[in-house]
Symmetry: C2
Subunit: 338 residues, 2 copies
């Protein structure tokens, strides 16, 4: 079934059929009726390959999500969808593997589907630095800070990761914790992790706590890695009374590990996470965390993208508020020292 067949069956030409199918003007109601009827009856679908091949400019925006099962991004996509549904731009989402190069993919997409704009969820800034120069579409990076990058068409919206991490450490300190451990993401590949590390250091120094290597362990963003990391951390430093994990997923893995070692959370060790995803809400103990403002991230991201598309606005870099969510995985210690 092609538009050619539709044309033959209805007695019109492919030109007219195409115009009807794309809702273009200058078609008689009679033709529209006949063609639409026939299309529905036969379950006709346009071949997008041909459409994209011919079309020199699409009409939607595309979101590139790096890292499949990522709760945070999943929610963000929902909000983006909602924002975009207020506009005329359809959204298409592509899911990429953790280790795929989002920018590389963006290049292909630009040529093939020719969207009006690009939304990057995740992906590390090194990718952007290296290859983004070749993409010419208005783009915005969500949760990856691009403010240091020299691209006039790449905006970004992020949580202030450094400040947020600082807030987490401050909170632990205020609860009386002095021996604080941190489970970080991979500082080499994750921009947000680096920023959060910076925030941690700043807070620790400010409180007169040494920023020794013994406080930090690195992990991938998974339950299993968090589990493992917690074990390494308490092996390295047995006096720890509180842990800041740079994601909720790692925090949950960590709590489980402590539990399996016979340590109670929060009575023996407190744990604070980062992100504010669903599973933390349903965990026992209810996970104390720094919540990223997912809907604002989405809302501002879409707004900046539209500005880029409609006003050719130059790249802007925004930061969005976060929130400390006090729940049950951090406890106040009785402390004598201050």
């Amino acid at each position: 079934m092609t538009i050619k067949d539709l044309a033959r069956q209805t007695g019109y030409s492919v030109g007219t059929v195409s115009r009807v199918l794309n809702g273009q003007p200058n078609v008689s109601d009679k033709a529209k009726q006949a063609i639409l009827d026939c299309a529905n009856k036969s379950g006709f679908q346009l071949n997008m390959n041909a459409k994209y091949l011919k079309q020199q400019r699409g009409d939607g925006v595309m979101a590139l999500v790096t890292g499949t099962s990522n709760e945070l991004f999943a929610h963000m996509i929902e909000h983006i969808q909602r924002e975009l549904s207020q506009t005329q731009y359809p959204l298409t989402v592509d899911y990429l593997d953790e280790n795929e190069d989002a920018v590389h993919h963006a290049l292909r997409i630009s040529r093939e589907k020719k969207p009006l704009g690009l939304l990057f969820l995740g992906g590390n800034s090194q990718m952007f630095a290296q290859n983004f120069g070749n993409v010419s579409l208005p783009s915005v990076a969500l949760t990856a800070d691009a403010s240091g990058l020299p691209f006039p068409n790449l905006s970004s919206v992020t949580t202030d990761d450094a400040a947020a991490a600082e807030c987490a450490i401050d909170y632990l300190y205020d609860c009386g914790h002095r021996e604080i451990g941190v489970i970080t993401g991979d500082l080499l590949v994750s921009g947000p992790s680096r920023l959060r590390y910076t925030g941690c250091s700043r807070a620790l120094v400010r409180h007169g706590i040494d920023v020794s290597e013994a406080r930090f362990v690195t992990a991938r963003y998974s339950y299993a890695a968090g589990y493992d990391a917690a074990l390494r951390l308490i092996a390295k430093n047995s006096k720890i009374t509180a842990i800041f994990a740079m994601s909720d997923v790692m925090a949950i893995g960590a709590i489980r590990a402590l539990h399996d070692r016979g340590l109670r959370v929060p009575e023996d060790i407190s744990v604070i996470g980062f992100d504010g995803i669903d599973p933390g809400t349903y965990y026992i103990p209810n996970l104390t965390t720094i919540r990223q403002h997912v809907d604002l991230l989405a809302k501002r991201g879409v707004a900046l993208l539209l500005q880029g598309i409609e006003n050719r606005a130059v790249a802007t870099h925004e930061t969005v508020p976060f929130a400390l969510v006090e729940r049950d995985s951090v406890i106040k210690r009785n402390f004598r020292e201050g």
Copy 2:
């Protein structure tokens, strides 16, 4: 950058360039070198629209995953990937929204990308029943039983959901529970849920427990829905000592709800889940569950697909073993009655 440009730059013709890019024979090493060099240097990428449009038959298989953030399917995809990497068939994965029609999408894919075979993860059997007649590619449904359907090109691999649910109820019974509640999926849309319901009934009847409406509540497969469902269940039937939730996600939501009502799990109420996904492993209490054999599901699914592709084998319907994973969310009751 098109193959035309590559041809011009290297002095060869588009025919030769195309042959090189597709690794076809009858090309001089010299030409191969020159063209590949030039392609790499310029970061050339084939336009897949044009490729698919022209190609009358692809060379890979496609997996259609219904329901984005679904842990079970995410793992299954990994295993499928692994299986397929042993073969010559590249895998492409498409993620569909919960409420999209996978078969509809399959139809489009068949025409546009022309894969050799289709793998359906999720999707309900009503879709298959209604529209699958139009797809002619060898296909296999994973976790959706298609044995009742009259399609010679649609195989299926499932866990024996009825037996598995029966096992869950038996286990609760053996642990001394008599007042058992069940959180089901939507019986109207979910085939597996219906089968599990059947298994539940069978086991309850066998144990002389009434199959009253008061034991059952329906929920979507989410934490929040599980939470809500547990509340409804204990409101309906306050004597319940054990709950079988038809997914781990619902089970976790349920445990949280019970916890918030001041009920301890498993001391006051036991909970058993279904699936065997990661979060259950890291939950506290460690979630007792019926584990689906994800890697076998993947392995057999791929095997059946290959048989369909390579031997035009007629559809086969298999069942794969499950496992009762005894962990900490179910407790043995002291019971007097037997």
